[in-house]
Amino acid sequence: MSDAPSPQPSPARGEGAHSADRSSFSPLPLTRRLDRRPLVLLGALVLLGATMVAGIALGSVRVPLADVWAALLGEHEGARRFIVWNLRLPRVLLAALVGMNLAVAGTVLQAVTRNPLADPHLLGLSAGGALLAVLALHLDPATAVGNLPPLAFLGSLLGAALVYLLAWRGGVSPTRLLLAGVAVAALFGAFTTGLLLVSTLTIQAIMSWLAGGLYARSWPYVRILAPYWGVGMLAALLLARRLDVLALGDEPASVLGVRVQRLRAVLTGLAALLTGSAVAVAGLIGFVGLVVPHVARMLVGSGHRYALPVAALLGGALLVLSDLIARTVASPRELPVGIVTAAIGAPFFIYLLRRRT
């Protein structure tokens, strides 16, 4: 409005327009707007806590809340304690860790590619991780579970490296990166599906690789994933400011002294660590890495010091809730958890798209 071409504005008129603009943006110019981002962060933490409590309290078998509490305190012996302590608790924790990994990996990748469609699936990271894990199981069905995360991490790195190689042309543009990612994901996905179908695995085991599953995942899996989760989360939070700089664009970031290509490679490696370890214990779970970063940015803006922890907490909450639904909706049978995340995630994503436009 004030930029409207008026070659010689009268000083009075210009002054008036200016003050009108200011008042329309902040009616009370002297009051600072309350930063609600810490509250959102707290809210996300509470939400994760609430879903975890629900995940431990509910299941295929009805356990009275008092017994759940007693079991958690270690007072109860027998079947109920076993159900709460050895079946539900580790599974809820694992779902939270996997959800956090995928959501943070997605947030990092969307910043790296500056593309809101980027996620561990679309960039070939999940596919690479799954391919190597499934290949290892195919060659030696007795492969220890503990060896799968490093292998899947390697696979995710390989997937990412191949995507970079294909997209490289004296530097990597976000668009080419995404296109190469789609191609690599499709190729690796085809190999993985083929390997699974010629394997001796049951259709249920195949489904839990392809659509994600936390069936019969107990403490050993939590112990296996926890270190990868810890290192990944810490690194992501330490790199949060760099992510903000990268989001400005390659040139402004270079001007600010950031070595863009190196940073992008480090961040992609971090996303591979988070994704590969999650895929190794839970298979291919979609939509968490795509949808959650969007929700987080909607709530707290694109500053990554908030967007990353909020995405982590919401990702954990989404997967804990999805797994609760997966194991109770058709009880005593179970659904692959990826089906539930897609069933929740896809409509929500469509809603977000419609609301924005």
């Binding site: 930063d35 078998v61 079947a79 049951t202 019969a216 989360m233």
Partner: protein
């Protein structure tokens, strides 16, 4: 303000990490605690053995040892009372020896009484919560449905997991006797096994000359995708025991097919042109039988068995999903199909 928030985020995640660490630590403590508990159980058994040994003069030793499909030995002092069956075959074997299980997989629907037992989910992914809620003292698993990893998970319930595998008529009689003995129903198990053995012997006594025995193809699946049952499958073993020749050789299992089966095409079936085709329709009771779906195919119509009216639908439950003691009835059904002129 914003760095403050970030610190909260970091602190939250660190706290969460500590919680996980504590949980893991507490868990290993729990496992340590569980081990002595298991130890107590073995000592109790040991005490019983010792008691049996000291009083061996007055009563025979009760402790017997059984070996399961994985080669693991089980020492059973007294018959278990709370047994969860993990496959339809196990359920049927247990009913046949007169020792019904406490709970069954959702797919187990024979005998009729089994349907009123609590269900523990699919055989492939049994619900551990449901199994634990039954407070079992013994589990009987099925190697064809539960892989080694699932068995390992089941063992964490802290009770013996006995694994059976029913892939031949001999497996049925063997596990009728073994499960019967474990459950304290030795005579019932032996009687049920002898009934099946008697039927096999009767059929073998009346076998026609070698060149009169039919070449049989067992088609398992749907019109779009089917397997051939090889001699080392359960249905393949049944016809072999009845003297029929399998149109398909043993050969290696083909990729993607269950043990004892190989993927097959209509083209290869025409090349074999068997005397008899037994069709196992696995699509369920609501889908049209596979042989009727294939009837419209001209290639199928040219088969010797189709022209001679020697294509028979045979039950999927008894032959594939739930191989077990009902094999006696299957033998009764197969003999007139294989030897119509007798």
């Amino acid at each position: 303000m914003s760095t403050w928030g970030a610190r909260i985020g970091l602190a939250g995640i660190v706290v969460a990490g500590l919680l996980f660490g504590a949980a893991c630590g507490a868990d290993s403590a729990a496992t340590d605690k569980a081990t002595p508990a298991a130890g107590v159980a073995t000592t109790a058994a040991g005490a019983q053995t010792a008691a049996a040994a000291t009083s061996s003069a007055t009563r025979p030793a009760q402790t017997r040892t059984f070996t399961d499909d994985s080669g693991k030995s089980f020492t059973v002092a007294t018959p278990p009372k709370r047994v969860v069956a993990l496959s339809p075959s196990v359920v049927e074997i247990m009913y046949a020896v007169g020792a019904p299980p406490l709970a069954r997989p959702s797919s187990a629907n024979f005998p009729e009484q089994a349907k009123s037992l609590p269900a523990i989910g699919s055989s492939y992914q049994p619900s551990f919560e449901q199994i634990a809620a039954q407070t079992p003292d013994f589990l009987i698993a099925d190697a064809q449905l539960q892989g080694p990893q699932t068995v390992t998970e089941l063992q964490k319930l802290g009770v013996p997991v006995f694994v059976i595998r029913v892939q031949s008529v001999e497996d049925v009689t063997k596990y009728l006797r073994t499960v019967g003995a474990i459950m304290g129903k030795t005579e019932e198990g032996d009687r049920a096994a002898k009934e099946i053995e008697g039927k096999i012997q009767a059929a073998q006594a009346k076998l026609p000359a070698e060149n009169q025995r039919p070449r049989v193809f067992i088609l398992v699946g749907t019109a779009d995708a089917f397997f051939a049952a090889k001699p080392n499958s359960f249905s393949g073993d049944v016809i072999a025991r009845l003297g029929a020749k399998n149109a398909v050789g043993p050969g290696p299992d083909s990729a993607g097919a269950p043990a004892g089966f190989s993927t097959f095409s209509l083209e290869k079936l025409i090349e074999l042109d068997p005397d008899v085709v037994l069709v196992v329709s696995v699509a369920g009771p609501n889908a049209p039988p596979t042989s009727r779906q294939l009837a419209g195919n001209p290639a199928w119509a040219g088969l010797r068995a189709v022209k001679g009216g020697r294509v028979h639908e045979v039950p999927a439950d008894e032959l594939v999903q739930s191989a077990g003691p009902r094999v006696g009835a299957v033998i009764d059904q197969f003999v007139p199909i294989l030897y119509p002129n007798r």
